[in-house]
Symmetry: C2
Subunit: 142 residues, 2 copies
């Protein structure tokens, strides 16, 4: 189990936008310079963040991205959901997508375990606010 780089990158992007946004739109290339991540890939991630309305874009020269909602209202869970879809996908649901399905009892124990786990994960990540992360230091990967 792990967070993918998608989620990691998305968080770094939005933190950068939150941090530098007050000085005007933050361009992708600025993020790339500061965080050292692949530009074309970030473009896709930022598109997702925009479509989920966490950020908005300003097109044209001097354009870039800005937060679309107050920084205090954004949680890590919001960002991950925007970038990766479901934060924790139940294995049972995944099988269902393949046309398979859980047979037998609806109150399968394992399903209950995964549901509880999902709940705990989402509760925690939903409690971590971007605002609080901004106050502290971050690191970049090289």
């Amino acid at each position: 189990m792990r967070i993918t780089t998608q989620g990691d990158y998305a968080l770094k992007c939005i933190l950068r936008i939150a941090a530098d946004g007050p000085q005007g739109p933050v361009s992708i290339s600025r993020i790339v310079d500061k965080e050292g991540l692949p530009l074309d890939y970030l473009e896709q991630l930022l598109l997702k963040l925009r479509r989920s309305r966490l950020i908005k874009s300003v097109r044209g020269a001097r354009g870039g991205y800005l937060l679309n909602v107050p920084v205090a209202s954004i949680t890590v869970a919001h960002v991950l959901r925007a970038a990766e879809g479901e934060i924790f996908e139940l294995i049972c649901d995944r099988k269902k997508k393949d046309g398979k399905k859980c047979k037998g009892s609806e109150d399968c124990v394992l399903k209950d375990v995964w549901k509880n786990l999902k709940n705990k994960i989402e509760t925690y990540l939903g409690s971590v606010k971007l605002k609080d992360l901004l106050k502290k230091t971050r690191c970049t990967v090289t």
Copy 2:
């Protein structure tokens, strides 16, 4: 984020072994019959479970697998760790494996978030005992 079928299968195997073990060694083909999973794949998973000493094998005709420790002492966390390795791998550690490394502060906020999350996940899964799961119903996928 998700549990892979490896972990899911491994849990189903060990639950079956725990359930039927008292009547003698549980062979892979028996598990396949009851759970409908791919035999050759289970073979690999059972090997991991054996190497991590959760189960033991009885070779030869009439052989199979048995729990190697009291069922009350096994948790979901134990099984997942045996099957998948780290239950939750920090993205920072994963980068490190590629020869990259977190630059800058050692007290990176994101790392702290992931560490806390890892802790919560492991605590919960470490609290779910196989013994308790045995009492309830399970489902199979077809």
